[in-house]
């Protein structure tokens, strides 16, 4: 159970990086990626995945 970032859509704004409660999102080369081992889809933290809620581009943080 994890999410992934569609690299071609990502604007690299970094909002997801600091909203992620699991510190699962990191910059790799020049795009952000979600570490599937750390991602919980925010279960237990929030009602909805924070990266999806804050991302300015629709359909960019999606189910892996």
């Amino acid at each position: 159970m994890a999410l992934k970032i569609v690299a071609s859509q990502c604007t690299v704004c970094g909002a997801c990086e600091f909203e992620c409660p699991n510190a699962a999102i990191k910059m790799k080369r020049d795009v952000y990626v979600i570490d599937p081992a750390k991602c919980t889809e925010c279960e237990g933290h929030f009602d909805a995945p924070q990266c999806v809620a804050v991302c300015p581009v629709p359909n960019t943080c999606i189910a892996a």
């Binding site: 859509q9 604007t11 690299v12 704004c13 970094g14 909002a15 600091f18 909203e19 929030f46 009602d47 909805a48 924070q50 809620a53 804050v54 300015p56 581009v57």
Partner: protein
Amino acid sequence: MASFVSLDSLSEPTSAAAMREALSSSGCKSSACGSSGNATDMPAELWNRIKDHPCYSEEAHHYFARMHVAVAPACNIQCNYCNRKYDCANESRPGVVSEKLTPDQAFRKVVTVANEVPQLSVLGIAGPGDALFDWRKSKAAFELVAREIPDIKLCISTNGLALPDHVDELADMNVDHVTITINMVDPLIGTKIYPWIFYDHKRYTGLVASQILHERQMLGLEMLAERGILVKVNSVLIPGINDQHLSEVNAAVKARGAFLHNIMPLISDPAHGTHFGLTGQRGPSHSELMAVQEACSGGVNLMRHCRQCRADAVGLLGEDRGQEFTLDQIPEQVAYDPSVRSTYREVVARERQDHVAAKQEATVTLDETDSDARILVAIATRGGGRVNQHFGHAKEFQVYEASAAGVRFIGHRKVDDAYCQGGFGEDATLDSVLHTLDGVDTVLCAKIGDCPQEQLEAAGIAATDAFAFEYIETAISAYYATRYGRPVQAQVA
């Protein structure tokens, strides 16, 4: 002709020695030397806080430059006039930037610019993104710069959603100027501008989103005003959505202590991929903007000299030298040299006294004309408050209204392409310049060719270079007096 400080020293990087030379070679009119240099009717303490800020003082924008660093790209709201995926180096509008910087890169860029652009007085963080949502990066950049260049003014722009959380830190860091973008004080209108906000770990849409945003904006504004921080409110004028509403916004922000209100025309182009661009929402015309500004007169003072600059702009408001300072041109190691900026300030202090006296003389000249005529005059200028640009090189005109009551700055008008294309004029371009000058009676410039002069005349616009290099107010009043004044009486006295 008024005494003349070399304008190269005002608009181009130059050595301290060149500026000293300009300073010593400028004569000083006897009438200027006694004046305080404070031309405004505001308290001295307030004037001191804004006199070097090109966005907060119309007078300062002739002399001082700002730079923006894009260190805080994350945003907590979506606006219908913004598309985060679009960027182009040739675009000039808010929120557009070609490269994002880390706080350390921003620090090196600021020091490099401070060493080469003596006019630099303000460092702003103005998007893309929200400087207060992405606060850790904004704060880190400010701290690095303030340590090295303590006299630079720190300035921040925000949508206001995260503002109440950071007001105390802003006050602690001596951030003295904050701009809040407030497009509505009625959440129903907000629903047409903001599709969603991200607040307290949730995405809100619809009326509730605009309600929360509105409440946070008003609270943040009140908290800043309580602490004496100067607040500028930016409003994007969106025809059919908030054009009738902005006078209400003006009154609401005045009641809460805003210092200045900047009404900006919506920039909307399908190519930008914004919601408004794609759905055909148009921006306002010059006259629609002037009508809304008129409806707001008597409220908070209006900023009329905004150029809607890029979020990585560098330089005087009418120019953008950002391309000279891209990351690949910034050295790894930087050392700040304060002498360039301080020498420039001496030059400006001297020039300003002279300019104040010239403005007073201009008012007297106009008063004596005793005419009813009210005309719009477009000025070609490279800065320094003077008529000092070739007509064909002008990328914008500053428009003033002249009447017997005085000279009043109205706004600036951008030219899509300068008329002169390197040695020859373009007729197609002249047409677009004529369109830009719609409603203008007269153009004053440093130089104009016979051909464009005749074509302007055919379009009903007088153009002359007879007042080249004068202060703008001196030139306009002299022109006005020549055209409308009574026959010159006994000048011998």
